[in-house]
Every structure is written in C-alpha cells, then in structure tokens.
C-alpha cells in the first residue's frame, strides 16, 4: 500500500498506541495535519507550543506511557524548547514531532527554518532529522524505543516537508526499529553487590532515599516489600512523592531544601543511606562537604552516569530499581530498627502536635490551609499538578500522596508555567481522575492562554490559584538573603475570576479560611472546569529552608508565629 510520509506518520503513531497528540499547526507540518484529519488520532489544539510539550509531559507522567507533542518548524519548534528541557531533567518520555522545511532548502535560512536538532541536542535524549519518506516509520518507532528505555527522556523527530509529501510503500514489518547494537555492560558487579548487602544487614541507623526512578521502574510494590522487610525508614525526594504511601508509618516525608526538619536531621545522623532511583540533586543534599558524613552510601540507579556524580558512594548497583530490589530482597535480614525509629520520632519533637489546622483562625488565609484542606476534601485521591515555587513546596508538605503518579510537578528544571498545560495532559491520560492544578499567580500568568484549550476540549480540570501578589519564592529569598529588597517580585495580576469568565469558566474568589472547604466542595460538584482564586497571606514563607549551598542540618526554621513548618499527621 502506497502512503504519503504524513499518512505513514499517523499510521505509525496509531499502531504504537498513541491516541492523543498535543500540537499546533503551521506551514511545514501541514501535510501531517491533513493526514491527522483522516486518522483516528485525537489532536488537541494548544495555544502555545510550550503548552503542547508540557501537556505531553503531563500525559506521560500521569500514566507512564509516552506523550506526543507536535509543532511546525521555526518558532513552533523553538517554543518547545522549555518543555523539552523540563521533560529531560525529570526523565519523562516525550516524543516531539516537528515539521521542517523541505530538504533542498535545509541550511538556506528559508522561511521558518531553524536548526532545531542543533538547538535541542543537549536537552533531548536523542534527536534526528528525517528527510526521506522511507525512513519515517522506522525512525518514529526508534524514537519511541529510545524515549522509553533505560532512563526515559524526550526525543525529537524533525521531518522535512518533502518527506511528509512524498509517497512510498508502507510495510510495518520492514520498518522495525534498527538501533545499533549497544554494549550491554556487565552491571552486576558482585563485589559491590555483596558490599551493599553487608552494609544493609549491619547498619544501625539506615535511611532509604526514594526517588522517581522507583515510579519509572514500576517498582512500587517491590519497594514497599523491601521497606517492610528491612524495616528501614524512607525519605522522599520531591519527584519520588507517591512512589511510597504517605500514610505508611515508615514514610518520613520529604527531604532537602524544604524537606521536613526531622528528615534532614535524620539523614545527617544516619550511618547508611540507600538511594534508590534518585540522583543526589543539590536541592536534596545541600552542601556536599557536610552531607551525611557519618553514612555509608549505596546507590541503586539505572543511569551509570549518575553514579558518583555528586556524592561518592560505597557501593553502586547499576540497574532497574525493581529488578535490583527483587534481587536484593531475599538477602536482606529482617531487622529491628526500633531504637533508630523512635529516635527519629523524637527528632520530630512537638511539630506533629502543633498541627496547623488546629490553630485558631487568625483571620488570615495561609496557602498551607488551602492545600491541606484540598487534601482533606479530595481524600488524597486527586492528581495534583503543581507549578513551581512556594505553593509547590507547600503542596509537597501538606498534600499527602498515597498513590504513584498523583503528584505531577517540574522538579529538575523548575519550570514556571508548567502546571496548567501539564494538568490538561494528565486529564487526557487519566480522564477518570480528579485533576487539580495548584499554581501561583506568577506561574499561572505564564501559560494561562491554555484555559482556552480546556474550554475547546471541554475537559474538567480544577484550578486553585495560590495568589499572594508576589513571585513568592523569589520574594522569600529576597527576604532572607537580600535584606527584604523586593526587586521585581511584587506582581500585578488580572482579576482571575473575570479572566476565567471571559474564557467561559466559572471562577470564585476565596479570601477567608472558612470559605476554603465549601469552595473546593462546590468546585467538585460540577463536571465543568472551575477556577478558584485563593487570596492568601502575601508574605508567608516556606519553612524549614536549607539555604542554597548550606549544610542540610543548617535549616532556617519558622520564627515563633502561629504557623508551624510541619505537615499534619495524616
């Protein structure tokens, strides 16, 4: 059967199981759009190509499948850059398809020509220009393999217009991926493996550091089994949240810059760290010279390049988290760590008692209230998609996630503007799920154009704007480290309720604590999207905080005021 390149692309995507494509048309990708119209693929028209990549990313994060974004050449492609880098830093499998000028025009500065493979080289796992119609099916299939294998990541396929227009015989079997034979390293270094087992079986104050790799490996059940066999408490990275239930007593909570104080202190006192699918990011370790100096370290990681990158470890096991844990499990002795566990409990001090929710209503509305109430009303069952900044950290502290893939957030790149589009992607991936956007007034204004996408696609996404009139996290740094010189952080926002109305979305402003729960309940009672504008305390800060570059135990604690820095006990 003879098909055009554009038709071959649509057919290939369909056969690969793709159902949704987030994109924006333009000249160099028009043949593909024409073919899309005849296919069964559901194309979601975004309002900006950055949104398309975040949607594909949110789609991938919500399911573990591959998200697909599409754009035209030139500005369409360059608008994708931020979204691609976001996916790269958080190991999210996204395939971006861009149109490119015809092959005979390549390199001629033709209209809307840009060297997008050159631009995205360092922020993709792989990228490739396709200029022959015969190569399209095979290369797209290879892109899906690469995006998904090992440590996942974004792949960009740039297809010239003439390749989209030309025709060739379409043969699925003949277009199977032909990736070159790559060395399979003998990762199972027996000496290091044995050392890891010995360390695990002899440690007195061990802690597991759990990262997103556990989720990417689909190893949640195996991990739980490992934790309860070894009796080792678990600290979470931001992106690891959800891979181990928050309600589990062995879950200490989040570590790092805005992690729980007792978690960071416990890490500094530990004699063994078992890092699983995490990469010792600087936001997690603080100053490396003082990081967990008493601890031996074991690193289970699928990406060899992460071993000894930031923290030198005593034993590295390179491999898939689930497979590695399964191999380790029978060798781990059930041990009693009750002394260590009760010591960690002591470290909590009275923080669990000083429950933020039980404090009297001071007339102020704090972001922490809003998020904690959202957790209570949704019974922790929503997919929460956050933006970046203070609200993101409060979400991590006050919304307790028991299920994997229920917190979707830009961790590595810290991309403002991520939340709204990523939530749209998540909703398409999990139409059954309740999806909440938790976003600041700054980040929301970066990609609020995607409200139109929500309306056009008639999808049910709830939006909670944590509106404090500042770029809050930057303001916080200015308060702590720049003598309260609030340069460029006070920010004027439109009337978000009126804005929502202009898009045809119901909006509501919430200014007091007692309105929070009813407003969330009311938003949940409809199948339509709702925007809630929470006017929260303007100059509240996220505590505790490890200043950038400081030692992990060197935390700024909340000054003596009605708010406490701790999450409530679930």
């Amino acid at each position: 059967m003879k098909l055009t390149g554009a038709e071959i692309l649509c057919e290939t995507l369909t056969r690969l199981g793709v159902r949704h494509i987030f994109g924006y048309p333009g000249g160099a990708i028009l043949p593909v759009y024409d073919a899309l119209g005849k296919s069964k693929l559901h194309h979601i028209l975004v309002r900006h190509e950055q949104g398309a990549t975040h949607m594909a990313d949110g789609y991938a994060r919500a399911t573990g499948g591959i998200g697909v974004a599409m754009a035209t050449s030139g500005p369409g492609a360059t608008n994708m850059v931020t979204g691609i880098a976001t996916a790269m830093l958080d190991s999210s499998p996204v395939v971006c398809i861009t149109g490119q000028v015809s092959s005979k025009l390549l390199g001629s500065d033709a209209f809307q020509e840009v060297d997008i493979t050159g631009i995205t080289m360092p922020i993709t796992k792989y990228n490739v220009v396709v200029s022959k119609v015969e190569d399209i099916a095979r290369i797209v299939r290879e892109a899906f393999v690469i995006a998904n294998c090992g440590r996942p990541g974004p792949v960009l396929v740039d297809i010239t217009k003439d390749a989209q227009q030309a025709s060739t015989e379409f043969d699925w079997d003949a277009s199977a991926p032909k990736l070159p034979p790559k060395r399979v390293r003998n990762n199972h270094n027996q000496a290091e493996f044995d050392r890891a087992v010995e360390l695990l079986n002899t440690a007195k104050r061990p802690i597991i550091l759990a990262g997103r790799g556990i989720m990417l490996s689909g190893a949640m059940r195996k991990f739980e089994e490992f934790v309860h066999t070894s009796n080792i408490p678990v600290a979470m990275t931001l992106l690891g949240i959800g891979c181990f239930p928050a309600r589990d007593p062995m879950n200490l909570g989040m570590m790092g810059m805005h992690g729980e104080a007792w978690v960071n202190t416990a890490i500094q006192e530990a004699d063994l760290l078992l890092a699983v699918g995490m990469r010792f990011d600087d936001r997690v370790t603080g100053d490396l010279r003082t990081y967990a100096r008493n601890a031996r370290k074991i690193h289970i990681e699928v990406d060899r390049a992460e071993i000894n990158k930031n923290v030198k470890v005593d034993a590295a096991i390179i491999g898939d988290a689930g497979e590695t844990l399964a191999t380790l499990l029978p060798l781990i002795h059930e041990r009693d760590h009750s002394a260590w566990l009760s010591h960690i409990k002591e470290l909590k001090g009275d923080s669990a008692v000083r429950d933020i929710q039980s404090l009297p209503d001071s007339g102020h509305l704090y972001a922490a209230h809003v998020i904690n109430d959202l957790w209570k009303v949704t019974k922790g069952g929503a997919i929460v998609v956050t933006d970046v900044g203070q609200h993101q950290m409060w979400e991590a502290q006050y919304y307790h996630h028991d299920e994997p893939r229920t917190l979707i957030t830009s961790g590595g790149l810290g991309t403002m503007g991520f939340a709204l589009p990523a939530a749209i992607g998540a909703k398409f991936a999990r139409p059954d799920a309740e999806v909440w956007v938790v976003v600041g007034d700054g980040g929301f204004q970066m990609t609020s154009c995607e409200l139109a996408t929500i309306v056009q696609e008639k999808i049910n996404v709830k939006i909670a704007i944590i509106n404090n009139g500042y770029l809050g996290m930057v303001r916080q740094w200015q308060e702590f480290f720049y003598d309260k010189r609030y340069v460029a952080t006070p920010l004027v926002a439109p009337d978000f309720v009126a804005l929502a109305k202009a898009f045809g979305i119901r909006g509501e402003r919430v200014t007091t604590r007692k309105e929070v729960v009813p407003s969330i309940e009311s938003a949940r009672s409809t199948d339509a999207p709702v925007l809630l504008d929470f006017r929260v305390e303007q100059e509240d800060s996220v505590y505790p905080m490890v200043p950038a570059g400081a030692a992990l135990h060197d935390m700024i604690r909340r000054p003596n005021n009605p708010l406490v820095e701790t999450a409530t006990e679930p």
Partner: protein
C-alpha cells in the same frame, strides 16, 4: 591525560554530540581522532582529554549514554599503544640539508618531499617522540606542521571490539491498554 576509545555510529552529527558533551562537562580535549572501522557503519574515536580520573569516569559514562555511542572505554590505565602522525615542513637549503636528514633519521622520520628551500618530514610515534623531533627541527625553522592526534589500541588479547549483539533496548514499548 586520559585516553578514551569509543565506537560510534558512522553518521552525521555524532562528532557534534561527543564534542558538545565535553563542552558541557568542561573537559578540554587535547586530541580527538575519528576513523572508519572494518565495519563501514561504525567509526572509532580516540579521545585524549585533560581531566582527572573522576572526569574520565564521568566522560566515559556520559558518552556511553549517547544513543549513537555503542561503547566507550577509558583505557588510560591499560597496557596500550598510542600513536600520533605528523607532517612537518622545515626550512632547508643545500648547506644544512644533509645535517637535517641525519637528525630525522635518528627519529625514524622519513623525508617525503624535497623543495629547493624546504623539505617535508613524515614521522609517527608517541607524542613524546614527535615533540622531541620538533624540538630538534625548530632551530632550522618549522614552516608548517600538521598532526593527526593520537590513536590508541590496547595490547595483546585485551580486545576492544564494537558490540555485535543487539541489546534489550531495541524492544518496542507495548502500546498502552485501550
């Protein structure tokens, strides 16, 4: 100095990816050579870089992460041969030419071109050897020089061959359940 040998796909853009990686890691390349192998789809690179052992480990691991790199191995500590090739054009007239030829012979260089006022020496060997010859030639006037950069190979039965077996990554992800 660290020496890394890599097998890469022989296609456009691969050199760019490798070079871009060293730039990101802030590792200065002293020499980088690329040439075909017996398999025309695979090229072999020898990368000599100014970095410490830790840098070399990172470079090796990061290189092997690139889709187009089939294998990368740091062979600095292994028993190996390193060779550099140079063409050196030296000023030479009738008077000093015989003396010059004597010196070149000591370094096992070959005179491959003679002109009235210059000659070209071809010399191969270790970097030290070529640097040594260069030192001796300099007083005569080195007019031009081209060097290939190093190629390296481990000795004896220590084989470094491109992988032949397809690895697990070529498996296609299963389409999501409908």
């Amino acid at each position: 100095m660290q020496t890394i040998v890599a097998y890469v796909e022989n296609k456009p853009g691969v050199l760019n990816r490798v070079a871009s990686l060293t730039r990101r890691l802030a590792i200065n390349i002293d020499s980088l050579t690329v040439g075909p192998t017996e398999n025309e789809e695979i090229a072999r690179m020898t990368i000599c870089a100014h970095t410490d052992e830790r840098g070399a480990i990172r470079l090796e691991a990061s290189l092997e992460k690139l889709v187009d790199v089939l294998l990368a191995e740091n062979i600095s500590d292994r028993s190996m041969l390193e060779r550099d090739l140079a063409l050196i054009k030296v000023a030479a007239d009738q008077q000093n030419r015989p003396h010059l030829m004597e010196l070149i012979k000591v370094f096992r260089g070959r005179v491959v071109d003679v002109a009235p006022e210059s000659l070209i020496v071809e010399v191969s060997g270790t970097v030290d050897k070529i640097d040594g010859l260069l030192e001796v030639l300099r007083p005569f006037g080195v007019l031009e020089m081209a060097r290939t950069g190093r190629i390296a190979m481990t000795r004896g039965s220590d084989l470094l061959r491109p992988p032949a077996e397809a690895s697990a990554r070529s498996k296609e992800p299963a389409p999501p359940a409908k």
